[in-house]
């Protein structure tokens, strides 16, 4: 078997969390895949639905409480209790979004457009959509369909295919 035969052909990425860093991890991986000619399917479930809900998707936050890796500018450790200060989470999140913009990282909707341009597809989990009381029209136009886990596994099949859980 040569090297060529082992290359990835498809990635199916499940995003079950709605904070900024996890959603971006999923988006970067999906976009990176289509850029490399790898088929990508992105499946949002549970709190991950935040990233495809029209009213919330451009306002994702990062956790400032219980996030031991959180630091202030200048590499100063961020005491978890400071996170309870009102506005702290919004401020930290907006600082992160600003930094990302400087690094040429697109906002959520634009990232999804880029993924679609490369043939990637975005899905919502039916169980979670029902659980959160959402409807198709609450979701971003980038969502191709609301599907069950059985349908997800059908999409995920085939050789050289990997499932990644975020």
């Amino acid at each position: 078997m040569n090297e060529e035969d082992k290359r990835l052909k498809k990635v199916c990425i499940i995003c079950a969390k709605g904070n900024l860093e996890d959603v971006y991890a999923a988006l970067v991986m999906a976009n990176g895949a289509v850029m490399e000619g790898i088929e990508a399917k992105l499946f949002f479930t549970f709190f991950g639905l935040e990233a495809i809900t029209k009213s919330h998707m451009e306002h994702l936050h990062t956790a400032v409480v219980g996030n031991p890796a959180m630091r202030l500018p200048g590499n100063i450790p961020f005491p978890s209790l400071m996170g309870i200060v009102p506005g702290m989470e919004a401020m930290a999140s907006s600082m992160m979004r600003k930094k990302m913009e400087e690094l040429d990282i697109p906002h959520v909707g634009e990232f999804m457009e880029m993924i679609e341009a490369g043939g990637g597809e975005i899905f919502a989990c039916k169980l979670a959509v029902d659980m959160f009381g959402l409807k198709k029209e609450d979701l971003s136009e980038h969502v191709k369909d609301i599907i069950t886990i059985a349908e997800f596994y059908e999409l995920a099949g085939g050789d050289h295919s990997q499932i990644i859980f975020v």
Binding site: N31, G32, M35, D104, I105, E113, M114, A117
Partner: protein
């Protein structure tokens, strides 16, 4: 060896010296990535890429979409598979290091 001239490339086929590139080499490099013929639009993209790189800018997929030369759908159609990698390779510039 492109357009009858010996050229140094790395193990992925990217030119080591972007000044060694000439336009008549582009169709031969394109064939190696599975593009049989280059049209005007391809050359517009190549020209844009060489300009940006000459100006010392980082190329990214997002930047290509905002280039005004192509939108991303067209870019994927012009250089199927790995548009940014193939287009930069055909343009004789180094491989972009951006993750987006």
């Amino acid at each position: 060896m492109y357009a009858g001239k010996p050229v140094e490339v790395n193990d992925e086929g990217f030119f080591l010296d972007k000044e060694a590139w000439t336009k008549d080499m582009a169709p031969e490099i394109a064939k190696e990535v599975g593009i049989d013929a280059l049209g005007d639009k391809h050359y517009d993209v190549i020209e844009y890429i060489r300009k940006r790189v000459a100006a010392g800018e980082q190329l990214s997929m997002r930047g290509m979409g905002k280039s005004g030369v192509v939108d991303l759908k067209e870019f994927y159609q012009l250089f199927p598979g790995k548009p940014l990698k193939y287009a930069t390779r055909i343009s004789g510039v180094p491989k972009p290091t951006s993750c987006v």
